[in-house]
Symmetry: C2
């Protein structure tokens, strides 16, 4: 066969996979936005069936043959085909190197582990979860030997979520970040300039929150012709297909921040996916470049726009209109300070911008220790608590508020957490660069003119999809390697202004 015949068949196969993925993603979205509970069991089986079919297509003999044929004349291939083949090969190898039997055992184990973790968390008893965690770690260690690694074994896990990232890079970044943040957190904690946040917990009607969520999405440039907003318990954005990128949010009548900032956060994820080059549709390149790059977009919208005082100059009146009693005696400055409150806390998902990276660094250091065989599972709760005391000055009173708080390890997701902190760094570095092209950034935010901001992000990040690796995107967009100083500067400036001036 001619090379272009292989190429065509390869893209046809990717397209077929994308159709299956559309079905699976929709079935997940539906489960989380109101599917009736009696259908959940069959649904799980249907998702399982189609996911297995996707796995089989990605690791099929034919996929291998097509990839072999493409790699034989790799240099003759168009750029996009090269990239698509690289990703398909990565998928093929990740999936096919694990013996099928072991992979199935692992799927069963992690599904069971999630249930056990729920119980353990409810009872706040790590010892219930420990035997499962131990096995999950053992499987992952074995997978690393199948996949191989360079440098540190943990690099292989990092690469699953953040292609190209390594322990060496992260150690340096996180060490600088700690050095800067820990003293700043201490100063902020000691500041007498504390926001009054009592008004936050007054009642704000769900209907009005929904209207505002829809309004902010529209204002920020989310395209409703290619998406919709629904309610869920744990909010997310999800791509059903290139023209259908959905946002979900949660309404807490006694804390509007959940919906407002949650929606703006997911809006950032969704705008990313709505602006990937359409030419990539139906290929494996039509996706975010990495977890971290994705998070950089959601955090950009949530923090640099949504928590920006200039944003609220224009939009705070909208909040007042929606819930007049609640905000009657709250001045704009008080509102801005309250929604930017910073204080050391135990739960990652509730942490503020400033302390959040420390929650991630703690998990990173623990995961690294696990995969360097420096710590046993039994020692983990003590290590966890010790690090919280050391970095945040508080000690979890129990496992539920400590080591059991996140589901990730129960799902076998080791190497995932660092992406959250990388997202912060990417976002800050992009923002710094954006200011060169759009020095009037804050004015645009104040005027509610987000078009140019979106276009800049699209040009530098969104449009590429998975054509580029995370660190390439950052380098090409900003002209330099990933640099943590922009995040540090941002946090120093913002929190000094808010708390220490």
């Amino acid at each position: 066969m001619e090379l272009h015949t292989y190429e065509k068949e390869f893209f046809d196969l990717l397209k077929k996979i994308s159709h299956y993925e559309e079905a699976v993603v929709l079935m997940h979205w539906d489960l989380r936005t109101g599917a009736p509970k009696n259908g959940a069991e069959d649904r799980a089986e249907s998702i399982g069936q189609l996911s297995a079919d996707i796995f089989n297509m990605k690791t099929s003999k034919r996929m291998k043959e097509l990839l072999d044929a493409l790699y034989e004349k790799f240099e003759e291939l168009p750029e996009d085909t090269k990239k698509a083949a690289e990703w398909a090969k990565k998928d093929y190898e990740e999936n096919s190197k694990i013996p099928e039997k072991e992979y199935k055992e692992y799927v069963v184990l992690s599904s069971k582990a999630e249930t056990v973790w729920e119980d353990a968390k409810e009872q706040s008893d790590f010892s219930l979860f420990a035997p499962y965690l131990k096995q999950l770690i053992e499987y992952n260690k074995r997978f690393i030997t199948y996949w191989g690694y360079e440098g540190h074994p943990y690099n292989t896990l990092l690469d699953l979520f953040e292609p190209g990232l390594t322990v060496d890079v992260l150690d340096e970044l996180f060490s600088e970040l700690k050095k800067a943040i820990i003293p700043l957190v201490k100063k902020v904690s000691a500041s007498t300039n504390k926001p009054d946040t009592s008004f936050i917990h007054q009642s704000f009607s769900k209907k009005k929150q929904k209207d505002l969520s829809l309004y902010f999405l529209k204002e920020l440039g989310y395209d409703f012709n290619g998406g919709r907003l629904d309610e869920t318990v744990h909010p997310f954005a999800t791509t059903i297909n290139r023209g259908d990128v959905r946002v979900t949010t949660r309404f807490d009548e006694n804390d509007f921040r959940t919906a407002i900032f949650g929606t703006i956060h997911e809006c950032g994820h969704a705008i990313y996916e709505q602006n990937i080059d359409e030419a990539l549709s139906g290929t494996n390149l039509s996706d975010g470049a990495s977890m971290g790059i994705h998070e950089s977009q959601s955090l950009f919208y949530e923090n640099f726009i949504g928590r920006n005082e200039n944003f609220w100059k224009t939009y705070y009146p909208k909040m007042k209109e929606a819930s007049p009693e609640q905000f009657r005696h709250v001045a704009l400055e008080e509102f801005v300070l309250a929604v930017n409150e910073s204080k050391p806390s135990l739960i990652r998902v509730q942490a503020d911008e400033l302390t959040y990276p420390l929650h991630i660094i703690i998990r990173y250091e623990i995961e690294k220790a696990i995969f360097s065989n420096e710590v046993s599972v039994e020692e983990l709760p003590a290590l966890w608590n010790q690090k919280y005391e050391e970095y945040l000055g508080i000690t979890p009173p129990n496992d539920a508020q400590g080591i059991l708080q996140d589901v990730h390890w129960a799902c076998g997701d080791f190497g995932y957490f660092p992406s959250y902190a990388l997202g912060y760094m990417y976002a800050a570095q992009l923002k710094n660069k954006m200011l060169e092209d759009l020095p009037e950034f804050d004015t645009l935010v104040e005027k509610g003119e987000f078009q140019q901001i979106k276009e800049w992000l699209t040009e530098k990040v969104h449009v590429h999809g998975r054509r580029k690796k995370p660190l390439e995107i950052i380098k090409e967009a900003t002209g330099e390697e990933l640099n943590v100083r922009y995040l540090i500067e941002y946090l120093k400036n913002k929190y000094s202004n808010l708390y220490l001036s």
Copy 2:
């Protein structure tokens, strides 16, 4: 292999097909309940892909081998396996007898024809649609020669929707029905006792209509743990899986009947599917017995319960509560008469209970003539108009309100219409029998106690799924063959009471 090994593999294959069907049905439901428009094109492709995969599984070599193995020792098989094998064989033969190339051409043609039909309807110009209709008919005539037929060629098409039904049976039923209804329609038309329906078109808030729709569903015994209600343009009920049977409805603020009776109608469909024997889940028997039996359940709920004066004795106050101004001066009797208004009209989907069967009979007679080669496509509009004049006393002023009103033929669905009228007959015959077991039917309806009614229908109809053929269900439930007199009696009684007393 042993027989039970084949049997197991056969049921595994059916289960796999059911998982694919879940995905396809959900993708359809989603398209019709709010999927963003930009995603529609990819969605169509994904549905196409998975539907093709289902087709391939149903007509696979392996399916054939399994069926051959089962049929070799058919008498040794358990009853459900026999039935499942019969349905799978019917599917296999229907699908595999048509050459693949021809089938694909036909799919493309009918997809194109639907678009052309829309244009033609908009322009009210049958001549635009005629060339497509001609081809669709030719394909169906050829399919009939592939499938074979007994008696009349049209029997083969009827059998697709109503297994076992034939022209001989329908000719007799419809002839009796016409003989009874046509004079009754004339009498009702001539009656001076006309309902005042002006209040119907006053504004009734959508929100209140939705609340009432949810309320009626719950009252009637629809299980929300296994379903949900959504809004759509052309309402339907749909089964995603055995524990997930959804209802949709449409809200017209100037005509509450659309939502109220529409919801009750779909409720009947949904209660049917929610009560099929759970043991059949994941097999090809977990479905309605036929289009007509399905329609009998929706019509039972809509007409015998929803349009029953006793129902409104209890529930009319709920309507008044929801829209007090609208009903302030409308007495219960006036309300009941108005929602049972009967008059000859042009559009099938807007027709009342009494005139509806005539709309169906017209289509049946025309389809039969088409497949007996007694009428050309060019002659159809004239034939249509002539029959409307003859049976209903009115002539369509144009094609849009005449022969172009329904989408069915554009989809290639010939033989489908009779099921609507059969549903009426089934429903009336079942109701007549039910009165022997539940003589207090009207009292139960008045009290809002629907449990026993539902249980009766479940025992006689729902639970069987596709284990029994339509005419078997009727015979076993009522002790006699399908008999049109129960529908005739019902219509005579009801409309004499309303209009002629």
